[in-house]
C-alpha cells in the first residue's frame, strides 16, 4: 500500500463484488437504503457467471429445506418481486407449476413433498390425479401417474430482471465498474482498501457476491472462508416457439437429493425450455455443452412431451450453479471486519436475490453505519420489453424497422440499449438485453446488419471492415 492509498478518502459505504443477480439486487437494496454503493464485476459485462444460464423460474420455495435460510430468502424475494415488477416493467408469466410423478415410487413421495410445501408456507398447492393433469396438459405424455399443482410458481426474464435491479441502483447514485477484478485488499480496522485490476478504492464494507468465485474471494480478502464452491453444470435445450402451444404449466419432476431434475417449461420469450442436467465439475468457468447430453435431453423432452420430437431446437446452453458442500445458502457476516460473504447461492438465486439482499442488509445493520434512504427513489426507464406475452417494441411507430426477424427486435431497441446507462460490450451482452440472434435462425439473416449497427460498441467486434482494395475480385 502506498502513502497515497493510505490517505485515499472513503468514497463508498459498500463495495459489492460480483455483478450476478445477487450482486445486482444487493446494489439496488443498499442504494435504496441510502448507501453509497460501488459494484465491481471482473467480466466485461454483468451476469457473466452463474446468472448467465438458469431456468428462469420464479420459485415459491415449496421444495426448499423447511426453515432454511434459502426458503426464507425465496419467500421474501418472491414477494418483493411481485411488489416491484410492474414499476420496473419486469415480465412475469404466471403459469403455475405441476410436480409430475412418473412412477409408483415417485407417487409415493408426493405426500411428503406436499407436507414440505405446506411447512414452507406454500399452502395453496392442489393435489392432482393423472386424469386431471392430462386434462390440464393434453400434450403431456400419458404415462404421468399423478402430482400436484403449485399455483404461484411462475416464469420470469432471467436477464432484464437483474438488469433492472442494477439500473435502479445506478439511477439512484450507485456506480458500477466492469472489467474490474478485485485483486486484493486490506481492512484497517474501520474501512477497506480494495485493489482492483483498474483502480484502488476505499469502502466502509465489502459484500462478497462473487458466486462461483466466492470462496476464492473470501480467501483473498479475509485469508479464510466458511465454504467451498462445488460448481455444478446444467445443460439446457431451447425449442422453437411452435412448441409453446404444447405446454402451459411448468412441468417439474419429483426432486431428488441432488437436483430438482429435468424441468419442461415455457419461457417468457415464447419458447420451451428443457433442462437442466446436474454435472459436478472442477472448472468454475467452463460452461460447455456436449452433443451426447444434448441429445439425451432431446430424448427426455420427447418422453415428457411427445410432440417435442417434431419441433426443432432453437438454442442450447449450459449454466454453472455455485453449489457448496452443503445444501443451504452460506451467508456469513464478519462484523469485526465490515464484511459479509454471500456464498452457495446454488440454483434459486434468481428467485431469492431480493430476499437475500434484505437479509444481508439486516446483517450489515449489525456493524455498519445508519443510512438515510432517499425520499423519492428514482425508477429507471425500461430499455426494452422482451416478453412474448406482453406488448413489444415492434408494435410502436418509429421502431426503426426489424433487425432480428426471428425475435422481432427493432433497430430502435438496439440503439436504445447501446446508448443506455449500462451498454453491452459484447454480443452476448446485447443478446441478453435485446434477444438479437437468439431465435431460430441464430444469426443467419441479421448478422450482417447487426455487425454494422454495433460497430465500435463491442470490445471484440462481430466483424471488421475489409481493408481497402480487399473487396476487389480475387
Amino acid at each position: 500500500m502506498s502513502q497515497a492509498d493510505a490517505s485515499l478518502p472513503e468514497r463508498y459505504d459498500v463495495a459489492i463484488v460480483g455483478g450476478g443477480v445477487v450482486g445486482c439486487a444487493m446494489a439496488r437494496r443498499f442504494t435504496l437504503e441510502g448507501a453509497r454503493v460501488v459494484l465491481l464485476e471482473k467480466a466485461v459485462d454483468i451476469l457473466d457467471g452463474a446468472s448467465k444460464g438458469n431456468s428462469a423460474i420464479l420459485h415459491t420455495g415449496f421444495d426448499a429445506p423447511p426453515s432454511s435460510l434459502e426458503q426464507r430468502c425465496i419467500a421474501e424475494g418472491h414477494a418483493e418481486f411481485l411488489e416491484i415488477r410492474e414499476s420496473l416493467g419486469l415480465p412475469l408469466l404466471q403459469c403455475s407449476a405441476i410436480v409430475a410423478a412418473w412412477s409408483e415410487e415417485e407417487v409415493a413421495r408426493l405426500e411428503e413433498l406436499m407436507d414440505q410445501a405446506r411447512a414452507n408456507g406454500v399452502d395453496d398447492i392442489v393435489p392432482l390425479s393423472a386424469a386431471e393433469i392430462r386434462a390440464a396438459e393434453p400434450s403431456l405424455s400419458g404415462k404421468v401417474k399423478g402430482g400436484f399443482r403449485v399455483p404461484r410458481e411462475a416464469l420470469m426474464d432471467p436477464w432484464s430482471t437483474p438488469h433492472a435491479y442494477l439500473l435502479q441502483a445506478l439511477a439512484n447514485g450507485a456506480e458500477v465498474r466492469r472489467a474490474c477484478e478485485v485483486t486484493g485488499g486490506q481492512f484497517d480496522g474501520s474501512s477497506w482498501l480494495l485493489e482492483t485490476s483498474t483502480e484502488v478504492l476505499r469502502a466502509h464494507s465489502v459484500i462478497n457476491c462473487a458466486g462461483l468465485f466466492g470462496d476464492l474471494l473470501d480467501q483473498r480478502l479475509l485469508g479464510e472462508t466458511g465454504f467451498s464452491i462445488k460448481p455444478r453444470k446444467g445443460q439446457f435445450l431451447v425449442f422453437d416457439k411452435a412448441a409453446a402451444q404444447l405446454v402451459s404449466s411448468i412441468i417439474l419432476p419429483v426432486p431428488t437429493e441432488k437436483t430438482k431434475g429435468i424441468v419442461v417449461c415455457r419461457t417468457v420469450f415464447g419458447n420451451v425450455l428443457v433442462g437442466p442436467t446436474a454435472e459436478d465439475q472442477e472448472s468454475r468457468c467452463d460452461s460447455s455443452t456436449d452433443a451426447a447430453t444434448l441429445k439425451s435431453l432431446q430424448g427426455k423432452a420427447a418422453e415428457i412431451v411427445p410432440g417435442l420430437a417434431e419441433i426443432p431446437v432453437t438454442a442450447s446452453y449450459a449454466g454453472l450453479r455455485p453449489a457448496s458442500e452443503q445444501k443451504d445458502y452460506r451467508i456469513q457476516a464478519y462484523p469485526e471486519r465490515n464484511y459479509v460473504s454471500v456464498g452457495g447461492i446454488r440454483s434459486t438465486g434468481l428467485s431469492a436475490a431480493l430476499g437475500i439482499a434484505r437479509h444481508v442488509l439486516g446483517l450489515h445493520q449489525g456493524f455498519g453505519p445508519r443510512f438515510t434512504a432517499p425520499r423519492q427513489p428514482r425508477v429507471p426507464e425500461v430499455p426494452s420489453r422482451l416478453s412474448e406475452y406482453d406488448p413489444r417494441a415492434w408494435e410502436e411507430a418509429g421502431n426503426g424497422g426489424i433487425v432480428c426477424h426471428c425475435e422481432l427486435v427493432t433497430r430502435a431497441e438496439i440503439e436504445r440499449v447501446l446508448q443506455g446507462p449500462l451498454p453491452p460490450r459484447s454480443l452476448s451482452g446485447l443478446k441478453r438485453r435485446t434477444r438479437v440472434t437468439m431465435g431460430r435462425c441464430q444469426g443467419f439473416y441479421c448478422t450482417g446488419a447487426l455487425a454494422r449497427i454495433t460497430e465500435g460498441a463491442f470490445d471484440s467486434p462481430l466483424a471488421v471492415r475489409a481493408a481497402e482494395g480487399e473487396d476487389e475480385d480475387a
Binding site: 452433443a291 431446437v313 418509429g398 426477424h405 450482417g448 462481430l462 471488421v464
Partner: protein
C-alpha cells in the same frame, strides 16, 4: 394500432418474400392481368438470397446471361416492377390467418392486409449450430454461410480470418469462394460423411486452393470463450484432435423458413420442413400457395424462379375460376431411405400442374428400385443409385392411373451389399 401509411389494406395476391420465386411469381401474375399484386419483403431491398451471393453463375435460365447474385437480384426486381407488381420492403409478416389476412410490421407500426390469395415464398436458411446439437463453448464467430455472405458482400466486413468450414454441399464451396474473395483463409473443410456431398465439379476446388478436407470427421466441441479459438475434431475411429481456428462456418443442411406455416394454421410436412402442398403448390389452406425453396431444401435460384412462375400460372387460373379438383391422393413415403417428396398430395385431374414432377431426395446413399405404387399396383419404377442432396425427379403424370381412395406409395426398395 398505428396504420402503416404506404401499404394498401387489400390486394389480389400478397406474395410473402421477394426472392427469385416470389419476384418471378409477381411478374407472371401481372402478365396474367391480376390487378393488385403486392410483394412483401422484410429486408431493406428485395432480391432474396442472391442479393448477398456476390459470385456467378445466376440468371442463365431467366436472362440467358451469366450474372452475379446482386445483379441477378436487381434484374428480377426491375422486371417485377416493370410488370406492375408493387414491392414493399422493410415489411415483416408476423401472421397469416384463414381468409387471406396478413398481420404486418413496418417501421411505422403494425398493419393488416387482406388478400384474395397468399403466395408464400420465404425460402430456406441453413441449420444453426444449436439445431445440430454441436457441443462446446459458445464464443462468437460461429456463423452460417448466409451470415458470412451478407457481411462480406453487403457490409464489406469480415467476421474472422482463419475459420473452418463444416459441410461439403454446394453452398460449402460457395462459402469457400466467399472466404477467398474477402481474403479469409479457411483452415479446413470438415465433412461428417465419407464423401463430399456436392457434385464432382466442386470437389477439386479445396485442393486447388490448398484447403485440407477431412472426411468422416465431426466437430465434437467448439473451443473459445469470447472468440472461437479451436475446434475439437473426432474421426470415425474415435481419434480426437484440436484444430486452431478463429471461426466456424456452419454451411448447408438447409431448412425451409416455415415460421409462418409452423406458427399458423398450415399443415407442415416433416420430411421437407415446409408446408404440405398439391401439384399446384396449394397448401392445406386453399387460399395459400407456396413456391420456391420453402417447398423443400434446397434448389437453385433458377429452379425456384421457374417454380414461382409455374405456381403463379396456377394461381392466376384459380383466381379466374377455381377449378373443382375432386379426387385427392395422398403420397406416402415407405421406408427410411427417402427423405422427402414434393408435392405431398395431388388433386385430380392432373392437367396444367404447376409442379411438373415429383421431387424426391434420399436420406443417405441408396441403391435399388424406386417405385410408385397404388393399391398394390406398380405405376412406375426405375433402378437407380442415389446420393443425398441430389435432385431426383419422378413423373407426376403416372398418377392419373392411380386408384382413387388409396394413398399413393413411393418406395425405395434397396439392394443388399451396397
Amino acid at each position: 394500432m398505428p396504420e402503416a401509411p404506404n401499404l394498401p389494406d387489400a390486394c389480389d395476391v400478397a406474395v410473402v418474400g421477394g426472392g427469385p420465386a416470389g419476384l418471378a411469381a409477381a411478374t407472371e401474375l401481372k402478365r396474367h392481368g391480376v390487378p393488385r399484386v403486392v410483394v412483401l419483403d422484410r429486408e431493406p431491398a428485395a432480391g432474396g438470397i442472391p442479393r448477398h451471393c456476390g459470385h456467378y453463375p445466376f440468371g442463365m435460365r431467366e436472362f440467358h446471361k451469366v450474372l452475379r447474385g446482386p445483379d441477378y437480384a436487381g434484374r428480377l426486381v426491375a422486371r417485377a416492377e416493370q410488370a406492375g407488381a408493387e414491392i414493399q420492403t422493410g415489411v415483416t409478416v408476423t401472421d397469416i390467418q384463414p381468409g387471406g389476412i396478413l398481420s404486418l410490421i413496418t417501421p411505422e407500426g403494425t398493419g393488416e392486409l387482406q388478400a384474395r390469395r397468399i403466395l408464400l415464398c420465404t425460402g430456406v436458411r441453413e441449420t444453426s449450430r444449436a439445431a445440430r446439437l454441436i457441443g462446446g463453448q459458445r464464443p462468437q464467430g460461429v456463423l452460417p454461410t448466409g451470415a458470412l455472405q451478407s457481411l462480406v458482400y453487403l457490409e464489406k466486413m469480415k467476421p474472422f480470418a482463419r475459420p473452418v468450414i463444416l459441410g461439403s454441399e454446394l453452398v460449402s464451396f460457395s462459402a469457400l469462394m466467399t472466404c477467398r474473395h474477402a481474403g479469409i483463409a479457411p483452415q479446413a473443410m470438415i465433412e461428417p460423411n465419407e464423401r463430399v456431398t456436392a457434385r464432382s465439379f466442386a470437389q477439386g476446388l479445396p485442393k486447388l486452393l490448398g484447403v485440407p478436407v477431412h472426411l468422416g470427421c465431426e466437430i465434437e466441441r467448439i473451443i473459445g470463450r469470447e472468440q472461437v479459438e479451436a475446434v475439437q475434431l473426432r474421426d470415425r475411429k474415435g481419434r480426437r484432435w484440436e484444430l486452431a481456428c478463429d471461426g466456424v462456418l456452419m454451411t448447408g443442411r438447409f431448412t425451409p423458413e416455415a415460421t409462418l406455416a409452423r406458427m399458423g394454421h398450415l399443415e407442415l410436412d416433416l420430411g421437407t420442413g415446409g408446408p404440405r402442398v398439391d401439384q399446384d403448390g396449394r397448401s392445406s389452406d386453399p387460399n395459400v400457395f407456396v413456391a420456391g425453396n420453402l417447398l423443400r431444401p434446397v434448389e437453385t435460384a433458377g429452379w425456384s424462379w421457374k417454380e414461382g412462375l409455374r405456381v403463379a400460372q396456377s394461381l392466376a387460373r384459380d383466381l379466374e375460376a377455381p377449378r373443382a379438383r375432386e379426387v385427392t391422393l395422398e403420397l406416402q413415403i415407405q421406408g427410411d431411405a427417402i427423405r422427402y417428396l414434393v408435392p405431398q398430395r395431388v388433386t385430380l385431374p392432373l392437367e396444367e400442374a404447376a409442379l411438373e414432377s415429383i421431387q424426391l431426395r434420399v436420406a443417405r446413399p441408396a441403391r435399388g428400385s424406386l417405385l410408385i405404387r397404388s393399391a398394390g399396383r406398380i405405376l412406375w419404377g426405375r433402378r437407380l443409385s442415389a446420393l443425398p442432396e441430389r435432385r431426383i425427379l419422378l413423373p407426376l403424370d403416372v398418377l392419373k392411373n392411380a386408384a382413387p381412395d388409396h394413398p399413393v406409395e413411393v418406395v425405395f426398395e434397396e439392394e443388399e451389399g451396397l
